[in-house]
Symmetry: D2
Subunit: 284 residues, 4 copies
Amino acid sequence: MNEIGRILISCQDRPGIVAAVSKFLYEQGANIVHSDQHTSDPTGGTFFMRVEFQLSDITDKEEKLKSLFTPLGDHFGMAWNLSLASRKKRIAIFVSKAEHALRELLWRKHSGDLSADIAMIVSNHPDLENLAAREEIPFHLISVDKNDKQKAEERQIALMSGKVDLVVLARYMQIVTPYFIKHYPNKVINIHHSFLPAFVGANPYLQAYERGVKLIGATAHYATEDLDAGPIIDQGVERVDHRQGLDALKRIGQYIERMVLARAVIWHVEDRILVYGNKTIVFN
Amino acid sequence: MNEIGRILISCQDRPGIVAAVSKFLYEQGANIVHSDQHTSDPTGGTFFMRVEFQLSDITDKEEKLKSLFTPLGDHFGMAWNLSLASRKKRIAIFVSKAEHALRELLWRKHSGDLSADIAMIVSNHPDLENLAAREEIPFHLISVDKNDKQKAEERQIALMSGKVDLVVLARYMQIVTPYFIKHYPNKVINIHHSFLPAFVGANPYLQAYERGVKLIGATAHYATEDLDAGPIIDQGVERVDHRQGLDALKRIGQYIERMVLARAVIWHVEDRILVYGNKTIVFN
Amino acid sequence: MNEIGRILISCQDRPGIVAAVSKFLYEQGANIVHSDQHTSDPTGGTFFMRVEFQLSDITDKEEKLKSLFTPLGDHFGMAWNLSLASRKKRIAIFVSKAEHALRELLWRKHSGDLSADIAMIVSNHPDLENLAAREEIPFHLISVDKNDKQKAEERQIALMSGKVDLVVLARYMQIVTPYFIKHYPNKVINIHHSFLPAFVGANPYLQAYERGVKLIGATAHYATEDLDAGPIIDQGVERVDHRQGLDALKRIGQYIERMVLARAVIWHVEDRILVYGNKTIVFN
Amino acid sequence: MNEIGRILISCQDRPGIVAAVSKFLYEQGANIVHSDQHTSDPTGGTFFMRVEFQLSDITDKEEKLKSLFTPLGDHFGMAWNLSLASRKKRIAIFVSKAEHALRELLWRKHSGDLSADIAMIVSNHPDLENLAAREEIPFHLISVDKNDKQKAEERQIALMSGKVDLVVLARYMQIVTPYFIKHYPNKVINIHHSFLPAFVGANPYLQAYERGVKLIGATAHYATEDLDAGPIIDQGVERVDHRQGLDALKRIGQYIERMVLARAVIWHVEDRILVYGNKTIVFN
């Protein structure tokens, strides 16, 4: 892992991109381990690429690699990002009272599935402070005044400044404002329940129960200004039937949220996700 | 199958219902093969029951059974229905141009999964006439004037009068009016695509594609006056990703529609579905 | 929950069983909340029933209920069991070094999904002692001499005597002998990986990897003398592909094991499982 | 589609392969539409690649492309194959009495999912001759003497000579011999039921039923000399429970077989499958 690098690329599609990128890596002495590409449309579409490569002493070579790659990126008009697997992303997990999403992330960290640092846990309620303490993760209680959300958000942003690469809203239950999002564009992951059909308004589980849905699900997505309408990263569902009461639906919903959120966070920290318009390309 | 009967019951829950029904069947010489029950709430809820039983010479005894059961049903204030497995339900399948849903139903009929009679195929387009002819099923072309839907519906209802127990909208692509539904309450099954989240308005597959959904699905439900908001019978989903273009999404959607609609129709003809408020109890 | 009782019944099928049981409960003042039945064969098969009922002051009435039900059970030749939801089953969890299965069970206990007491954790390795301590659950280290397994099993059985209703082998990694099983017939739940096709012999994940399986799974079952051939309680699978290396397969396998084992244990403690020959009837 | 080409490559991994292939295509004026790669091991493993590209007038250029690519392939020691999407593969479907697998393939052909020609249907029973006739596909009845299989196989191979690119055993129910396989290496796709655990010997559905399995499935694979042990292409499963009798299990099994076989055949004709040892890399 100490020698693994990843490049994420998007640009206007045209012939020669793959050839140029792979030639570049070859000339640097790198060996391509995985390479995925996608074109939104073979004629005049957008081109996406993720390359994972192995290169000895990559940490020493990082700056040089980036400066050498820059003219190539400029030539094709690429948006690109080069990262090192050994440089773990730092996550702030935002929670409220429910612990299931947080617990799953901590578990994945322990098991080795989630190769990232949990820099801090931020909450508007003290309920999960003990859990944070047991894991020796800094816990910040910042209550939110619903008439002045930005005040709390300013504190949060100050707290995270320079220490956080990704914000995970792990059942935070607060709408974050465009002010907040602007500081972490495509770097705030949210999880919410999903039903077929969708139920708008308060108490969606009750509505789903009363409609007798046969599937319940969860969606992980990047938060955007229009909070729940951002690019979808992953989704999951489970079958239910009339025997599941309202409580059972909620409990099953929590298990889906755990799984879907964990996958989305892991894919993000492994640089597997490219955002394009309002959708994601996930090279998993 | 010639000796199989089924009773569907719903009523206010109270002690003694199961005892009374099972004692009744025992006294008639019937043997219970399957019995399913459900209570919407243990205290003061609604009680639902489906009993499948075996009884020699049930065809001869049908009328007597019904008249003997009537006082029991009255005593508990039951809505109940007794049916014989050997008396196959008669289905009218409404189609438009797409053949996948119709084909699957015909297939299930051939394979023995769907124990029903296909009484007729009704369409507003001639495209599937040959398929109907090959299967020797009457095909009725009734074009629909969008400014006077009721005219077409009157012809449809006249055509089906006395010959049809269930209407299946197998991608009929026309909204049926409350006038039509009133003639077949909880006897019109519709299938439509379903997405997480739901997309309102025209061209939902395009919207789903542009949002980059990771799951696409289909919902089978009873059509009610508010067409797509009726009681859900079954739902299905499949995972998709960025590699599936718009055409692929539509094709995968068709396969889910086939499976989900077929299950819903089979459950209906086997008397497995009870409608309660805006939801279904499916004893499958 | 303090007023909920459950009866599990199996006997030779014949008319009148449901009538007799439901009449009995009605006469005792009980209200049936759920009732499930199954007949292995409508003609001369075995009959299975689970009834969940509500009865005021059931704790005081338990002994009387049992003695009143006895003649009815004798009349039909029933194997039957009456239990109270408020009397939680006591579980001994057997572990080795892997923590995932244990952690999931503890989590389900916390979340309220698993309504049981964890009486003790038994292990042949000290690795999970701290986890047990943090949860304040007695931890017993009993090393196993592979040349004299019975010695360890005698200690285990003595330790559990009168304190344990269910043994869960949560990746215990030791084969328990018929001597052990005899003390807990249909009361030892095991979890193991499952592949399509099955791989016999050492290192099944490596074999599965080398065969390029596209699905990996897990099976929870009651341990019998022929350890892995006992009645199956539940199974789960996940799709995999060539991108998952051997480590990833093992990790995905662990998540399936967690989910499947948790479901099986919950169903057992809620008296939802009847064993019949080498199979289970699960009324979930 | 008339301008789409595909290259499948496998060789010893080493730096520079992607660069060389993409440079080659760029120099020929081709635009890469999809490109997938995989390395069995970053250090000294085997490298696999599938490139789909667009090239004007590719049909005219095919031979030239191949001869120009040959030195590049030789340089890296590649096994490679270049094919044109417009040149449809010709399939022989082998059947016996069951029609479900054949019907699904015909359906996929009609719907446009399966872009291939069905060159012939071969059977040892006359049952499906009418179905073939209705589709206007040549039907060859070749009975198999179980004491001299090779005699039938010689006729089959003579019949297919020069006319068939892929053999699909669509519930053919006959074991084909190594003699047959040798003529179509990695070009014979078989479908068979799969259970967790696997059941060896006669009547596997009965064994699965008696063990009370909770999942049944199907596996599509390339037939090899050891028939059912060849490289797995795809697998599927469905949940079942005690309510499904033996007949229902078989019927559900058929639906899984339909879906899994159709996917496997589609992937093959779209050149998405690379065989490596006893496993497949599927770039789907």
